[in-house]
Symmetry: C5
Subunit: 254 residues, 5 copies
Amino acid sequence: MKFFMDISKLTTNGKAIYLAYDHGVEHGPVDLVGKSIDPNYILEIAVNGGYNAVVLQKGIAEKYYLEEYREKIPLIIKMNGKTRFPAGDPISSQVCSVDEAIELGASGVGYTIYLGSEHESEMLKEFSKIEEEAHNKNLVVLAWVYPRGKAIKDETSPEITAYSARLALEMGADIAKIKYCGSTECFKKAVEAAGKTKVVLSGGPKTEKPEEFLETVKSVMDAGAIGVAVGRNVWQSADPLAMTEKIKKIIFNN
Amino acid sequence: MKFFMDISKLTTNGKAIYLAYDHGVEHGPVDLVGKSIDPNYILEIAVNGGYNAVVLQKGIAEKYYLEEYREKIPLIIKMNGKTRFPAGDPISSQVCSVDEAIELGASGVGYTIYLGSEHESEMLKEFSKIEEEAHNKNLVVLAWVYPRGKAIKDETSPEITAYSARLALEMGADIAKIKYCGSTECFKKAVEAAGKTKVVLSGGPKTEKPEEFLETVKSVMDAGAIGVAVGRNVWQSADPLAMTEKIKKIIFNN
Amino acid sequence: MKFFMDISKLTTNGKAIYLAYDHGVEHGPVDLVGKSIDPNYILEIAVNGGYNAVVLQKGIAEKYYLEEYREKIPLIIKMNGKTRFPAGDPISSQVCSVDEAIELGASGVGYTIYLGSEHESEMLKEFSKIEEEAHNKNLVVLAWVYPRGKAIKDETSPEITAYSARLALEMGADIAKIKYCGSTECFKKAVEAAGKTKVVLSGGPKTEKPEEFLETVKSVMDAGAIGVAVGRNVWQSADPLAMTEKIKKIIFNN
Amino acid sequence: MKFFMDISKLTTNGKAIYLAYDHGVEHGPVDLVGKSIDPNYILEIAVNGGYNAVVLQKGIAEKYYLEEYREKIPLIIKMNGKTRFPAGDPISSQVCSVDEAIELGASGVGYTIYLGSEHESEMLKEFSKIEEEAHNKNLVVLAWVYPRGKAIKDETSPEITAYSARLALEMGADIAKIKYCGSTECFKKAVEAAGKTKVVLSGGPKTEKPEEFLETVKSVMDAGAIGVAVGRNVWQSADPLAMTEKIKKIIFNN
Amino acid sequence: MKFFMDISKLTTNGKAIYLAYDHGVEHGPVDLVGKSIDPNYILEIAVNGGYNAVVLQKGIAEKYYLEEYREKIPLIIKMNGKTRFPAGDPISSQVCSVDEAIELGASGVGYTIYLGSEHESEMLKEFSKIEEEAHNKNLVVLAWVYPRGKAIKDETSPEITAYSARLALEMGADIAKIKYCGSTECFKKAVEAAGKTKVVLSGGPKTEKPEEFLETVKSVMDAGAIGVAVGRNVWQSADPLAMTEKIKKIIFNN
């Protein structure tokens, strides 16, 4: 078992930019505006933009990634998923096995834990088993930790953001993907709480002006994050590669 | 593992017409008017009509298909099922194993996911395991994706139709079976959202005039679907083979 | 796997009379009036009456059937059970394994599905697994299909009766045990819906006059049923063997 | 598999007195007045009183029984348990495996089924699996059957008492432990309902006067029970061994 | 199987002081004031303070303990966990396997049972399986027993405290970690109820004055506890090692 994963296959000099593209399950095609409905469009951005990995559900990985792109860019498989419809506190169940992820060529696996959901215990348990098997089989483990549900008053408060980061560490994730809490100062607290678990920003919906997003990236890098998992702010932009360059400049030249 | 299934065993020149006959579970004999109560009647239509496959629950496959028809027409086993009675958000559980499907001579397996149901996570998880095992054992995987439940305002809106098609792709289905959204334009969006996952129309209840159904078939073929899974519009019609020919003409001569 | 079971071990010239005796679980001793509280009394009726099989829960089979009766009369093990007390929609869980049934000398296994119950999906799933294993191990599979629960307005309507019969066929049962719908005509519809799955009448509570029950037996035989699973109408009667003869005359001489 | 267990290892001339001591889980130390808080005190009573077995949860068996007492007195392991706090219909889950029971030196295993609880189906299922494995491994199986929950109007009515006894038989228990219904006559009905499954009285809380309890013991023995599982009426009494002798006199000299 | 564990690897002359640090999951970083956000800070206190063990979730153990500290201080892995958010009766699910705990170098495993929670049965069942496997694999088993939920009126009443201790014994724990009930007298009852299961105090939140906590430690030691699992009262204090010395003086010199 490899408890302390070498994450260098998913980083460059310890920094990382991931292209997230699991929105087809989580939000539906409404997010996949214009050319971004086509997975090949995204995969080309990922390759040409020099991303450290692309994040896909297994179905996209099977039909688009495996044959054409496995030599070109590393893969992180999203291991659970839900649509945006069911009401009540969220639960997102495992929809891919660790072995399937490996056969698809994945270097890492990601799983969403809805911190505070009344179904939290089921997700913590499921994540924990994935973590054990994935580490045994030499995969990097990423935890998306999103506070959500009736019990959560403010999903991006400084305190809950640090809690999210800490939960990822305590559960054995190598990398935590969390939301922005609004300032460098509070994000620094989250990075501190995550300890040896690395932190990447969850990009979120496209900001009105690109500068806003870039400022957030700068803020989290200043706070000690290792990078960002970006989706809509890149592939919904008019020039994804140009936007990518701007983000990379902040991440890797800082 | 075969992630990218060869679906040619269930298509003709990339197009397909399937005869669906799982209504005995889903709706009860009320749907099986006249001779259509008899599975042999249906299987003869399937063979004589030159269908690419017939869709059956395991019980019908055991007692009618296996000995008499396995050499004559391919089989798609419906892997889950529910009756029309239980109130509340729908859940349809697995009622056939992948090994059983194989022993029954199936070339493919179909599973209904009720997108948006509060039990969605259970079906996504179950479908996912079936998909993995079926692909490992060389079966084509079909996802029936039907929006349903309290959270779904309009089960055939353009947006939810595209979402259904996309979910099938993201979950690893080879073929998505979805409902008609009302226009060629919106169905084209669904086909686009499905990407490399092929789309077939879910036939639905018998239309008042056959022309209405044929227009729908034409519309989805124009939109890029590969065909249709038809049931009541064929076997509830006065002349099923004539109706079949009309549908096939649209599907295969287009 | 034997999908098309030879049911001749549980029939005589294709007809059958079964002595049902699982009321101790389902209803309690209140049903087991007089001598019928004693399993030996029932088993003697079954043997002396020339029944095609006796239906028992595993506990009775262990302590009364196995040593004394296995050479004398075939056994159908009831695989699930519930008491009459819990409120709400019914669920009846598996309480005997297929291997246990075999060790007890069973030729067949029976399982109750409450069609329409909000727990229907759990029972369909469980029945399905039992069906697969039982057929693999050469046991006849019987489905008791009883419409029940909030969603069921009329448990013995013609339509729901035919639905019950059909569900047994679709789920892979060899024999369906269903309730009487009130007329030969409607029961004929149910038999037709069941197709190659054979239909036996579920005897129900003791009728006020024996003639009433015999008329029902005649009606279902006229409708194409292969026989009856009778309990209270025999062993609550003053002369069980005489009653048995009357029923057998209708079933086997028709 | 041994369906018809030899219970002589837990009886004397077919009669039995068991010392029950699982109250620490079910009720808490409030029941364990005076010296009875100490398991050794109980085990000494069991040995010196010549009990046929002592009934313990696995924790007590591990730390007190295994090394010191396994040569001195047989053990029945209580396989499930719950505290007295959770509201609503009761559920008591398995907390010891059959293999663990065997390693602890058990001759038998006991399990509580709450007849009529809305969780009844889970307990019937779990009991059933334990029964199968325990019989395969040569352990005597005891069912504590207690009517409980919203659906039960009177937990000690004659009818429900006979139902409890019958359920134990139908589920495959060798010995049923049930509550007293108030008269010899009604308990006789319960014993009759249990058939070849032997019946022992569940001792219940300490009676105001010892005579009351002794009368109950006399009543159930007259009714055909094989003995009693006694706890508080012995170890909460001033002179447990004297009380034991009085009970044994009724059980074994009758 | 080792039912009677040798706990000397986690004690000194039968006494023990554990440094608990699973608050990052249970309460979040809000508890981890100042330097205590850093696991290394805690591990240094544990080593330099001469603790008998440190209590960690698997994530901290993987990234901080395994390589640097396994030779320096024994480890107890916390096997389940929950955040403080979900409303309603608490459930804490297993998030680490026994094999994982062993690979991380653990000498013992701890699990929280919420006595009285409506999810109690799930935790009792899960704890029970962990206990069996852990004892088979030579790990000391600790039960954190905390009364909690709608059914619990007073979480630290004398009676519920003794019940907590007893439950740990009955379930097979080697060591019970329970809350203080307010007096030496009532804690003595709890220790008595725990029997051969050793009792340690659950330290709880930082007291206003250190003396208060030290008095509690003195009280439980006088009552027969073997020690304390302390967290916030040490690592939130200005001088953790000084505080440690004061506690140890009470525990080991008494």
